[in-house]
């Protein structure tokens, strides 16, 4: 029972314009709407759903209002989704960021999407390693889990892969909203004469400005952060969720909901490294970056995470021996 019009609802933890996690999904939906047209693609959102209980209510409400695709854009919404999805077998749900579609619980109408942000992080890490003069690089994260952990570990791996000598300072400040604390963390790193910083989540703008004052370089992620400080941002890893959303939408339109998991990778261009044009980047650095990207795409460089969540870089050459 195919259809041509589709109504999508998304529930997200922070504001739709946080220049980070929540904004990335809204941008994707806008892009899709752009492409398919207002009347073929309609979407609504609930933002600032920090309170999981409220998010659950919203999800349930959207489903019962007959939206075709209901997106729970936040890993904390998982358990609620597992409770709700079975009550609405004809509705498609999507949950990010994760790979879990609740198949093991016999649920078939939940899609999952995640970003292998360690890939882009690795690439940016390599660039950072080549650009640093002080041989000190700082990474700021919110809490040591999920997407943030992936990015931080990837970036660190990239740096060390390029130059094991470099000192990498990591700091999870335990807050998603405290810009002052992020700034102070940046201060601490700059004081250790770090000359390159990066970070993930909503509170990083605080750190970006410290980098700007100190003339250190910045790598962004989740969204293009060039606008924050055009003079110091080298590049940003940008998530393009359309890569995951489009196939889901096709399924919904075709009326055959399978509930699969999608990952954004450099390969499928769900992850893109967007360079800052205003920043003149040394050619060889850019070249190396492109090589690494290619290497990751055709799998000669890949990443494994073990039980303890430790990320290790696996190189095909090594295996060939």
């Amino acid at each position: 029972r195919a259809q041509e019009k589709i109504r999508v609802a998304v529930v997200m933890p922070s504001t739709k314009s946080d220049l980070a996690f929540s904004q990335s999904i809204v941008d994707a939906l806008l892009a899709i709407q752009e492409e398919r047209g207002e009347d073929a693609f309609e979407f609504v959102y609930s933002e600032n759903m920090f309170v999981v209980e409220d998010a659950a209510t919203a999800l349930r409400d959207y489903a019962s209002q007959g939206y075709d695709l209901v997106i729970a854009h936040g890993s904390q919404y998982g358990s609620s989704l597992a409770d709700i999805a079975p009550d609405f077998p004809d509705t498609a749900f999507a949950w990010g960021t994760t790979v879990d579609t609740f198949r093991d619980q016999g649920i078939t109408n939940v899609y999952a999407y995640e970003a292998r942000s360690e890939q882009g992080a690795f690439v940016q890490g390599v660039m950072a390693a080549m650009l640093t003069k002080s041989k000190v690089i700082g990474i700021i994260g919110p809490i040591e889990t999920g997407d943030a952990k992936l990015y931080v570990d990837g970036f660190k791996a990239g740096v060390l892969w390029q130059d094991p000598e470099i000192e990498v300072l990591v700091n999870y400040i335990q807050s998603f909203s405290d810009l002052a604390l992020a700034a102070a963390a940046a201060d601490a790193m700059l004081a250790e004469n770090a000359d390159i910083l990066t970070g993930t989540a909503q509170m990083v703008p605080g750190a970006v400005n410290k980098a700007k004052e100190a003339g250190a370089l910045w790598f962004g992620t989740q969204a293009n952060q060039t606008s924050l400080a055009p003079e110091i941002v080298v590049s940003s890893q940008v998530y393009d969720w359309t890569v995951a959303l489009n196939p889901i939408i096709e399924d919904v339109l075709a009326g055959e909901i399978e509930g699969e998991a999608y990952s954004l990778t450099l390969e499928n261009e769900g992850l893109r490294i967007e360079f800052n044009e205003d920043f003149e980047l040394a050619e060889e650095v850019k070249a190396t970056a492109e090589e690494v990207i290619q290497a990751i795409i055709d799998g000669t460089i890949s990443f494994e995470i073990d039980e303890e969540g430790v990320l290790t870089v696996v190189e095909a050459e090594a295996e060939a021996e």
């Binding site: 040591e144 990591v170 999870y172 335990q174 002052a180 102070a184 601490a188 004081a191 703008p205 605080g206």
Partner: protein, 317 residues
């Protein structure tokens, strides 16, 4: 080992972190000394944070690369204005309408939390904007003193001003007729009233002043510490500021010590983790909160809480 943790730069950054607490807590001190508890500080801070950033952004000439003194002045001015309005509103609610100060504060907090974000989205479409905030000002001579120079005398104007406020507050409270009225009204409004003092007028003044300072606290974040605005960027600092007033047992100096202790420990715990010393991040983050309590347990307790704190005054009728 601990030696290379406590570096000049850590102390300097601790002092910077202390500034918003200082503004907010000193403002709250005035209010509480006159008998009014205002839990709404956080909300006013957010309003001040956004509006001042807006003003700086608005009045910075297009294409300006560095900071613009005029724009920064406007930023502070607007913050003061907004603080004035929020403060007056608070006074109307708590003094004239004699509202239960516990709740009215929470109401003001939620209003500020929402309103600041709303304006942010209305004005900037919610897009993060950065401005060129207050630049560091190296005080001549002083800033060249080894170590101390870096710690104290290479900060920006809003930081200096915050610390200048400490002696000013002490002076106003203890050396002026106004201060005398404030202390009397907070301790025994009936007596003050019987001496022909308008309890309401005094409280209007202190609460409004508290609003202005809270608003400046916000500005000291958005146009001096981090130079951007985001919804809920104060992340609970307003409530900590209120707590610090109790820590300092209603004295300017005590409040300053509290703010410094809290912020220095915070800077230090960040340093600890930057150094990669292996403590769970969460425990490190806990440190300032735990230590503030412990410090108070061992601090010699000379509590003289304003006797009329949170008690609305109405002449026996």
């Amino acid at each position: 080992m601990i030696g290379d943790l406590i570096t000049a730069s850590v102390l300097a950054s601790g002092i910077r972190l202390a500034t918003p607490y200082l503004y907010a807590a000193l403002g709250e001190t005035f209010g509480q000394r006159s008998g009014v508890l205002n839990l709404g500080v956080e909300g006013v801070m957010l309003m001040g944070a956004f509006t001042s950033l807006w003003a700086v952004h608005e009045f910075t000439p297009a294409g300006a690369t560095g900071y613009d003194a005029g724009a920064l002045a406007m930023g502070v001015l607007v913050a003061i204005l907004v603080g004035l309005i929020m403060g007056l509103a608070t006074a109307v609610i708590n003094v004239t309408l004699q509202a239960e100060q516990g709740i009215s504060g929470i109401g003001i907090y939620l209003f500020g939390l929402g309103m600041s974000d709303l304006l942010f989205q209305k004005v900037f479409g919610g897009n993060v904007v950065t401005v060129n905030g207050f630049p560091k000002v190296y005080l001549p001579v002083l800033s060249d003193i080894p170590v101390l120079g870096e710690i104290f005398f290479r900060q920006n104007l809003l930081v200096y001003f915050a610390f200048a406020l400490v002696p000013v507050t002490w002076f106003v409270l203890n050396k002026t007729t106004l201060g005398l009225k404030i202390r009397a009204v907070g301790q025994n409004p009936e007596a003050a009233d019987a001496m022909g003092i308008s309890v309401a007028r005094v409280r209007y003044f202190t609460v409004t002043l508290g609003g202005v300072l809270a608003s400046l606290a916000g500005a000291s974040l958005s146009i001096s510490l981090v130079n951007v605005f985001q919804q809920n960027m104060t992340a609970g600092q307003g409530f900590i500021a209120v707590a610090l007033v109790y820590f300092g047992s209603w004295r300017a100096r005590g409040v300053m010590f509290g703010a410094l202790l809290f912020s220095l420990v915070n800077a230090l715990q960040l340093q600890v983790r930057t150094k990669g010393i292996d403590v769970p991040d969460e425990y490190a983050a806990m440190a300032p909160y735990v230590l503030t309590i412990i410090a108070l347990v061992f601090a010699s307790q000379r509590i003289d809480q304003p006797a009329a704190l949170t008690k609305p005054f109405e002449r026996g009728e």
